[in-house]
């Protein structure tokens, strides 16, 4: 595991290009494009204002920078650095901006969600979509980029419009039986659209591509409902995480729940491996005969090291009592992610914030629990294999795979607090983002013979 040099970053804006060749990062109003392998700066663009959002086009040829305060979007080309494009929403304001799947249209959501303007880079045409819904996840594209589903709100009712991305024609328009639609998401196979309601009402609706309602699922009434939703990569399962601390798995054949995963604070089953992060005090390291974690690689010795210890059942995890009488309480399943091979599901129960639960989807039972010393901020699966990277806002990054787990200290002069991370699409490297910096972590070293990158802090 190698770490690169630390580079400047602002607003956690650091993204790999879809083809995996470039890494874009923002420093205030400048956009820096680096080569992924060498981290050399390939391009440097200057925008008109502080950048709030960057996004690569699907073919990695263009990158957009959105400046919400100014209502501006600037698009840069990698092939032709001198090419420029600027979209000014003016008084309409700008709250969100994204690419269309073909990489030639930009969808701008104006202030107050008045409308969505579809700007084309190929033609002079502009399209407007009225009444978009202001919700958590109102726009979703199919994986093949053919269709876009948009949540709308007309006459105090929720609707969904399906557009054909190639010509922006409206394909289907139907209303949903939701009280207050909170999110929509296509299944990876592009044939089913999952629609879920606000957390005040537990309702998950499944629509076919042609607008037919396939199924409606409601687990319980009155209590706070759906918090997070995730499709399995094969579209076989839909995982619904709710405020009651359970994940319910729906199957694609009957759209009925096949199992539910609870997240109790105590784990009694001895078959479940519980990894607990423990501080490794270097002073006591000599006399410490503690169970040496077989795969825990001691990170480069710096501040406090930590390692994973296997706790024996019954294990009790740290819980967090949510503040009563507040909206959006810190309970329930806040994060859900399937591994790319569909074998595992990683979840986080916000009332047990330090733990990541990994479920075996083949056997539909709990597989591993990882408990960190601080609350888990973010985790993401390796796009190629079942390997999970976790960060807790501390100076370490944690990796889990079925072979074991490891805790790695990020090297650096000062404190590098890993606030977020993102994987390279090949799974070879991992970008670790902190408030003001970022660095790259290379995971497979065999192929990196002779590569030169930032020397200080270079560790093998």
């Amino acid at each position: 595991m190698n770490f690169s040099e630390v580079f400047k970053l602002s607003s956690l804006l650091c993204k790999f290009s879809p083809d995996g060749k470039y890494l874009a990062s923002c420093v205030q109003y400048r956009l820096v494009i680096r080569d992924v392998n060498t981290l050399q700066i390939l391009q440097l663009y200057t925008c008109l204002d502080q950048i709030q959002h960057i996004e690569w086009s699907a073919d990695s040829l263009f990158i957009l920078c959105a400046m919400y305060k100014r209502g501006l979007v600037q698009v840069w080309s990698l092939e032709q650095p001198e090419w420029h494009c600027r979209i000014d929403e003016g008084s309409a304001g700008l709250v969100a901006s994204c690419w269309s799947p073909d990489g030639r249209h930009i969808l701008n959501t104006t202030e107050f969600h008045l409308r969505i303007t579809v700007w084309s880079l190929c033609t002079k045409s502009v399209s407007y979509i009225k009444y978009p819904k202001a919700c958590q996840q109102g726009i979703t594209f199919t994986r093949d980029g053919r269709y876009m589903a948009l949540a709308e709100r007309r006459d105090c009712k929720d609707h969904v419009s399906v557009f054909v991305c190639s010509d922006w024609q409206l394909l289907r328009h139907f209303d949903t039986e939701t009280q207050d639609l909170a999110g929509i998401e296509w299944a990876p196979n592009g044939c089913v659209l999952a629609v879920w309601d606000t957390c005040l009402e537990y309702k998950v609706l499944l629509y076919s591509l042609d607008g037919r309602l396939l199924s409606a699922y409601c687990a319980y009434e009155w209590s706070l409902g759906v918090k997070s939703v995730a499709w399995s990569p094969s579209s076989q399962f839909l995982a619904v995480g709710s405020y009651d601390g359970k994940v319910r798995i729906l199957n694609h054949v009957t759209w009925k729940m096949i199992t539910e995963f609870g997240h109790p604070a105590t784990i009694n089953n001895p078959k479940i491996v519980v990894y607990k992060e423990a501080e490794k005090n270097p002073r006591l390291a000599l006399g410490r005969l503690a169970f040496p974690p077989p795969r825990a690689a001691a990170g480069p010795a710096s501040t406090t090291e930590s390692k994973y210890e296997i706790a024996s059942a019954p294990v009790s995890l740290q819980t967090l009592k949510p503040i009563a009488d507040r909206a959006n309480p810190k309970i329930g399943i806040g994060a859900l992610a399937f591994s790319p091979d569909n074998y595992f599901l990683a979840t986080r129960n916000d009332s047990v914030p330090n733990a990541v639960w990994i479920w075996d989807i083949q056997k539909l039972r709990l597989f591993v629990v990882l408990e960190q010393l601080s609350p888990v901020r973010f985790f993401q699966w390796d796009p190629q294999q079942p390997r999970l990277a976790i960060c807790t806002g501390g100076g370490k990054v944690y990796l889990w795979s079925p072979a074991g787990c490891v805790s790695v200290q990020v090297p650096g002069e000062g404190d590098f607090q890993v606030l977020s991370l993102c994987w390279h699409f090949s799974g070879d490297s991992l970008a670790l983002l902190s408030k003001d910096h970022f660095c790259l972590c290379f995971l497979e070293t065999e192929e990196r013979v002779g590569t030169t990158f930032g020397r200080p802090g270079d560790h093998t």
Binding site: D59, F62, V75, C85, I87, R104, W119, L121, V126, L171
Partner: protein
Amino acid sequence: MGEWMTVTDPDLSSESKNICQYTSETKMSPSSLYSQQVLCSSIPLSKNVHSFFSAFCTEENIEQSISYLDQEQLETSRREMIGLQERDRQLQCKNRNLHQLLKNEKDEVQKLQNIIASRATQYNHDMKRKEREYNKLKERLHQLVMNKKDKKIAMEVLNYVGRADGKRGSWRTGKTEARNEDEMYKILLNDYEYRQKQILMENAELKKVLQQMKKEMISLLSPQKQKPRERADDSTGTVISDAEEDAGELSRESMWDLSCETVREQLTNSIRKQWRILKSHVEKLDNQVSKVHLEGFNDEDVISRQDHEQETEKLELEIQQCKEMIKTQQQLLQQQLATACDDDTTSLLRDCYLLEEKERLKEEWSLFKEQKKNFEKERRSFTEAAIRLGLERKAFEEERASWLKQQFLNMTTFDHQNSENMKLFSAFSGSSDRDSLTVHSRPRQKKPHGVSNGSPVCTSKLTKSLPASPSTSDFCQTRSCASEHSSINVLNITPEETKPNPVGREGTNQKWSMASRPGSQEGCHSGRSSTCTNSHVEKDDLP
């Protein structure tokens, strides 16, 4: 030695009773005169009133009888009983309270749910109103923004880029719409087809597995064709015929589309059939195995081992069941016989026996065997004694009456006891029923001096409470004949009042308590816990 005799109801036949006779041989200390408890011999209790009052003690065996009484035991057991009763009452109370609480909670929950529902509707209504207002605002804003469109909102681009796929943009026409629809349906259909393929594959695999199972089952059964054939079973015939059928089926199936409905049904039906045949065959083999050992068929050795184990398991089970049955039957039999002489008597007898054992072991161990032999004789003599007792009772009653008169004159300080004397009377009279009367026929046993009974009527009215000890003690004292051996089994007094169970269950503990001294507080604890020390229990009495 005092003899304790209890007389049964005249309507009860004597032969059905076990009659115990208690003899006291130990000296009774004055201190033990506090209470004299005599274990009531088993009386075949009827639900009717006890009619007889038994004479417990005569003047001679007061001291003796006292020694048999274990006052403390009685007290502790009584206290225990009271405590338990109290606890039971408390728990029942608690239970009721909890039920009430639960009901209240449920009602509250229902109320809260209704409240939530009403609040939700209110909230939705308000939200809709606000949303409409908001929409109006948006429209207005939209208009404003559109007006300013020419000013600022624009896209400035150096040059337009080509499309990603290199084609040129097309106009939006009806044709394109139709094309889009087509594409959409194509995509959906592809997805469905793909899924169907997956499901078909799965089905095919499962069918293969089932067919394999079927084949294996058939092959399992076929080597047995010879043997079962000899037994001429119908199912065996079907086995063969099925095998032939199935063979044909198999070939057919492989040719047909496996998703055919009839084929599927055929497959499942034949699997079921095979399974049934296999099951019955295994059972048959089990039977065969039992014969194998006798007939020594070699072919079945292999199978008989397996079946042997099954068989042994079955046999073990059977053995267990039979054992249990025997046990239960034994118990029932015992119970039956015991209940013939009533629960009270059994328990009394048991308890008597324990106490009796103590005494006997101390003194008359050797006599015990003798007494066993003489039991029958004594039984017979008891009936005679019963008659005698009746007469004696009458005499006793007269004596008592006269004594009471004396007492009334003498006793000025024991006013309250007078009333209790009445109770005592009735207690005595009531208890007479209990003590009926298993008389131990023992040469040494004395027949209890006739304790005159009160009228049978007053027995029924007696309370469970201990007739005031002082009074009873007084009574007993002055009443020489009565005090020594007679005891009041308060519980026995009103069989219909008292719970028959405690009477019966703890019959062993039912004692006749005799207050031996005036003022004795502990005296006359109606004994539940202490057994009569004088009593002998003939083990043989218990059927």
